[in-house]
Amino acid sequence: MINQRSFAQFLGWGIFVLIVGVVLPLGVRQYQVALLTEIIIFALFAVSYNLLLGYAGLLSFGHAMFFGVGAYTVAIVLNHISGLSFFGAVMISVMVTTVAGFAVGSLLLRHKGVPFALLTLAFNALFYAIATKWHSITGGDDGLSIRLPDINLGFAHLKTGDITVFYYITLLIIGSVILFCWYFTRTAMGQTVLLVRENEERMKFVGYNTNVSRLILFVFTGFLAGLAGSFYTLHYQFTSISAISIDMSTIVVLMVIIGGTGSFIGPILGACVYIYLQDFLSDITDRWPFIMGLIFIFMILYVPRGLSGLIDSFGERLRGRWHLRSSVEMEE
């Protein structure tokens, strides 16, 4: 069961992270700022994946199909519709992803467990095939570059090409969406998702159409992944076939497993660690995928609850020791 932190605790954390998020880019190099942007984008991708895996108990091996549709749609519309604004492109992109999520979700509706996992994998492979073969639209193996439009708010003109400016845009938009995702887990729908996983049969007998609730969740997580994907393209001003590949689906699974599926914050930690680790290792050795692989195997075998589980049990131990000490004092 998901660990439900108290509202105050979470708000505290939220404000802390926000302040850190605002202050952080001030003291670091541009390169680091770009890395932070990437982390925020992947944090949303991982959070959306964990809504499926951690909250609904649905194991998908194809979450990158939505990330990829988001990434490609932004690039395609920016290349084909002249004068399209930054937010216009993002809007179209998430709308297209939502439609894709609905189409795929309707076909997956009745499946759970292994058939669900295999079908998501198959759909991802299909989307990947379309992206490679439909060269005239997607650019095939060459990918697509874009010219990033600036944001004109009337009173202010934001140069999105500036790494720091883009960082703050990402922090504001993706950060708020992540915050909404947290709120979502507390809403009626969020609780419904948990209850369906807990006892689907009984949910039907108290009036819930569990297929519908699964579909709504699936579409929602697809929408979120699509938003992350569209920012991925905007950030790099380029999208490649890797955005929609099975590799990308594997990456999000790993992020969530490293971070831990048992809490909301886990996948965010997982995204941080994954991206920093990749950046760090690829700097020092060409064999970084090998080392990453070893680390993941170690994590899955010895830290099955992920980093957030590790932090929780560490916290519990600290608190336990404190309780122990205070109860000893009471006895004296």
Partner: protein, 255 residues
């Protein structure tokens, strides 16, 4: 007595057959339940009582035959649709949300009716009426003080009470209780039946029950399920005197 005869049928079970890959469990079940009646279904182990509930409540589709609720054919509809039509059933084996606390268990059904099923913006506790209704149901079944307790930590008797509370959470008009007192001691059974009698006032109850004393004291009508069909359906005193029932069932019980 006269008033009772004039009551309308709320449920009509018509020639229900059910077989599981060749195993004929129900072979033409016919009976009707009147509005606000307390209707007991008895029958030996494996007679198909639970199967009958599974069909009325939409868990299984009948092989043939029809279920009429308030004049409308509802056979083969899904459980959630039937729940929203105000038919709700309990389970012979406690089937609740074990990891959730008692209050959340009951609120799940209550909020369903208040537009809080798939709501992305409102929290489940955001409508005071929903919380009040939940408290009310918990008080009815005697779990008012156990709201915060996780379901898995309840005593057996409390789990059975929660099973009923969850069934009541959707405000059913037709309540199907499958052996609500299964596994209880005599004393617990008597207490539980008192509670059931109270909470089902002004509603229609169909109950599967093994304890004959309980059945005869609670029910307005008793139907005996035997060999896949209803042997006889009638008032308790008729059933008590019925030779076929004595032979088929009560005899067994005594012997």
């Amino acid at each position: 007595m006269k008033a009772m005869q004039e009551r309308k049928d709320i449920l009509q079970v018509r020639d229900i057959h059910k077989d599981f890959s060749g195993l004929k469990v129900l072979t033409g079940v016919d009976f009707e339940v009147k509005e606000n009646e307390k209707h007991a279904i008895i029958g030996p182990n494996g007679a198909g009582k639970t199967t009958l509930f599974n069909i009325i409540s939409g868990k299984y589709k009948p092989s043939s035959g029809s279920i009429i609720f308030k004049g409308e054919d509802i056979s083969g509809r899904s459980p959630h649709a039937l729940t929203r039509m105000k038919i709700c059933r309990s389970f012979q084996m406690t089937n609740v949300f074990k990891e959730l606390n008692v209050f959340e268990n009951v609120r799940a059904g209550v909020r369903c009716d208040h537009g809080l099923r798939y709501n992305f913006l409102k929290r489940p506790g955001s409508i005071p009426e929903v919380n009040e209704k939940t408290e009310e149901i918990l008080a009815l079944v005697g779990l008012a003080d156990a709201g915060e307790t996780p379901a898995r930590e309840l005593s057996y008797g409390q789990q059975r009470a929660l099973e009923i509370a969850v069934t009541l959470s959707t405000e059913p008009e037709l309540i199907l209780l499958d052996e609500p007192t299964a596994g209880m001691t005599r004393e617990e059974t008597i207490e539980a039946i008192k509670m059931i009698d109270k909470v089902t006032a002004n509603r229609t109850l169909v109950i599967i029950e093994h304890d004959m004393d309980v059945v005869f004291s609670l029910a307005d009508t008793i139907s005996v399920l035997h060999n896949g069909s209803i042997l006889v359906s009638g008032r308790p005193e008729e059933i008590r005197e019925d030779q076929r029932v004595k032979d088929a069932y009560l005899g067994e019980e005594a012997g």
